[in-house]
């Protein structure tokens, strides 16, 4: 994955709170292989009615930045929600708060989850569609000549800027990991699963507690 520091592009507002990952991508689409692209599934049921007609939400076409309400990406851990955003061309989401798992998934796919003040989110949403420029290094965004800060953890900024991948990062710690596992095996061998005997136990015992 290639890293990035600066981006500038059209921003669209999604003025809702608690946009969960089930809305970002409904579960029924998740068996599709990624290579076919997940962009068409993004916010599918919010964008289209059952009869295939478009619903009344701002068009996402051409958007690179999304501004939304608090708790964006809450709910299911499905990384497919991030794939749908990324495959649709979104590079950054600006919101007052994010679901924890979603934010981690976003960073792992080069999507910036930028946390902004409530008031700023409100204001940006009234200005959208607008053009917003982002600087990850400076943790700032600018629009209409104003510049505002956003919050992003240092580790995440580094990963986004460098396009780092955790598997490579972790490989540098292989020896420590093995040593920790050895120590645990010596001190607490019971941590490893016991070989089950063939008696299948039932679940009822003591369960009325």
């Amino acid at each position: 994955m290639s890293g990035w520091t600066h981006a500038a592009g059209p921003a669209v507002a999604l003025p809702l709170e608690n946009i969960d990952t089930d809305q970002l991508i409904p579960a029924r689409f998740m068996s599709a292989p990624r290579k076919e692209g997940y962009g068409r599934f993004l916010l599918h049921d919010l964008r289209w009615r059952q009869d295939g007609q478009a619903q009344d939400i701002p068009t996402l076409d051409g958007a690179e930045i999304l501004v939304s309400g608090r708790n964006f990406g809450c709910g299911s851990s499905r990384e497919a929600a991030v794939y749908a955003l990324v495959d649709h061309g979104i590079r950054a989401v600006l919101a007052p708060s994010f679901g924890d798992i979603f934010a981690g998934n976003a960073v792992n796919n080069g999507l910036l989850p930028a946390q902004i003040e409530d008031a700023l989110a409100e204001r940006l949403m009234t200005r959208c569609p607008a053009r917003i420029a982002i600087d990850i290094d400076a943790r700032s965004l600018s629009f209409e000549g104003e510049t505002h800060p956003f919050t992003l953890e240092a580790t995440w900024a580094e990963k986004l800027i460098n396009g780092w991948d955790d598997i490579d990062l972790t490989a540098q710690h292989n020896d420590t990991i093995a040593a920790a596992a050895d120590a645990r095996r010596r001190e607490q061998p019971w941590v490893w699963p016991a070989a089950p005997e063939q008696d299948l136990r039932t679940t009822g015992r003591g369960a009325r507690g």
Binding site: P15, L16, E17, N18, D22, Q23, P26, A27, R28, S31, R34, D45, L46, Q50, R70, N71, C74, G75, S76, S77, R78, E79, A80, V82, S97, G99, D100, I101, F102, G104, N105, N108, E153, T155, D166, I167, T170, A171, H173, T176, I177, A180, A181, R184, Q188, W190, V191, W192, P193, A194, P196, L200, R201, T202, T203, G204, G206, A207, R208, G209
Partner: protein, 449 residues
């Protein structure tokens, strides 16, 4: 790392069918699974609850087959269809003794917080992280802030873990515990069975918490002892000794403390499209006109989606169907509760009862609960995620209102246009009997529950 992120060793990694992207990532890099002996696979999300796999939609059959193939290729123990030990990952993990106190447990599923009921650290991760765990058996995590939720006093009859959970989420918000690890404490939590604690920890994520846990005690040990993959004999004694040290110091300082009086909790139902949209069954549908303006808009949208009018009592809201199941409420105790309400009564609306695992199913049948459900007119089906997420095709039809024991009332979660009301198994059973949201408490009078 100096920024507060640590590399943690994972001791149980559970994978399910939705993890297909993750194995694909591993293959792209041509990496093996580092510790197949600590990795377990199970078919739950797409598992058909009726009929054979061959009759299922080909895309569903393919998902299950892909996991079976990946498990076999990497030497992972796989609980497939037809395996009596198979079940929803967060039901069968504890049941098989895979979940043990003190272990770090991850799964590509947000409700991995469930496993904290044992004093384990369990959290959900995304696909990239799953691939990372498969390849390295480790996970990067930031240290969470700590929060303690104390539940004092005693729960009233017909009130359970689900009501405690929805109650605190309604109070603090769906992101109220964001970035926090929750410890549930207090006499009412101590008094919960393992089943109840699993329900409580399961819902931690719906309040935004990274994970939730209950310190292990005698209830925990009694549950773990003798489970298939749990330590046995001397190993169990050594483990039990280590587990007994896993309690917070009485004077431990938490970043946040909340307390709840158990006696004040009434059965809770949700009215909106987020688990925070919950209220006691005795309350009325909230009025956006009286809410603060930042919430009002979302409330209006939620009520509009649910087709509910502000100000009317929640009790008596008609429903079209019920679903009793999911990793939140499909354990044996949940089914016993629902059966206590349904026994000798008929359901006015159709519904599905899906046990959490093959073993729960067998136990329920041994106790005759299945007949209570079918006599009431509900369908008794196989174990799986089923109508919680609708991946296997069990869906709520557009516009239909479902009384559900699941964990998410998100728009479209149970199917496009579905209107979900979350509640406990007892409350869902009561709703089935009356065909409307109903306070279960009077219906339990004189019944063993």
């Amino acid at each position: 790392r100096d920024d507060g992120t640590s590399l943690l060793s994972v001791y149980r990694h559970l994978v399910h069918e939705v993890s297909h992207h993750d194995f694909a990532k591993l293959e792209e890099r041509d990496l093996p699974v580092a510790h197949p002996e600590l990795t377990f696979g199970v078919a739950d999300h797409y598992a058909p609850t009726r009929g054979a796999l061959q009759e299922a939609d080909p895309s569903i059959a393919r998902m299950i087959q892909t996991l079976a193939t990946n498990a076999e290729r990497h030497g992972i123990r796989f609980f497939g269809l037809g395996d009596p030990q198979r079940g929803i990952v967060h039901v069968m993990g504890p049941e098989q003794g895979l979940t043990l106190p003190g272990l770090l447990i991850v799964c590509g599923d947000s409700h991995t917080s469930t496993h904290g009921a044992f004093g384990s650290i369990g959290f959900g991760i995304g696909a990239t992280e799953v691939a990372h765990v498969l390849a390295t058996q480790t996970v990067w995590q930031r240290r969470p802030k700590s929060m303690r939720i104390r539940v004092d006093g005693r729960l009233g009859p017909g009130v359970g873990a689900k009501d405690i959970a929805l109650g605190w989420i309604a109070r603090l918000g769906a992101d109220g515990a964001r970035g926090h690890a929750i410890e549930y404490a207090g006499p009412a939590v101590r008094g919960l069975s393992m089943e109840g604690r699993l329900t409580l920890c399961n819902l931690s994520i719906e309040g935004g918490a990274r994970f939730g846990m209950v310190a292990p005690d005698a209830t925990t040990l009694a549950y773990v002892q003798g489970r298939p993959f749990a330590p046995k004999g001397a190993a169990f004694d050594a483990a039990a000794e280590a587990w007994s040290t896993l309690t917070s110091d009485t004077d431990a300082a938490f970043d946040r403390e909340e307390s709840i009086e158990a006696g004040e909790i009434a059965p809770v139902v949700t009215w909106g499209t987020s688990p925070e949209d919950a209220a006691p069954i005795t309350a009325t549908v909230p009025d956006p006109a009286r809410a603060d303006p930042s919430r009002a808009q979302r409330m209006r949208a939620a009520l509009d989606y649910r087709a509910l009018s502000p100000g009317r009592p929640l009790e008596g809201t008609p429903i079209d169907q019920v679903f009793i199941g999911s990793c939140t409420n499909a354990r044996i105790e949940d089914l016993r509760l629902a059966a206590a309400v349904l026994s000798g009564r008929r359901a006015r609306v159709p519904g599905i009862v899906s046990p959490g695992s093959g073993l729960v199913k067998a136990q329920a049948e041994a106790e005759g609960l299945d007949r209570i459900f079918t006599d009431a007119g509900l369908d008794w089906v196989e174990a799986g995620c089923s109508m919680c997420v609708g991946m296997n095709g069990d869906r709520v039809a557009p516009g239909k209102r479902c009384a559900s024991t699941t964990n998410r009332n998100f728009r479209g979660r149970q199917g496009p246009g579905a209107r979900t009301h979350l509640m406990s198994p007892a409350m869902a059973a009561a709703a089935a009997v009356t065909g409307a949201l109903t306070d279960v408490r009077p219906m339990l009078v004189g019944r063993a529950a």
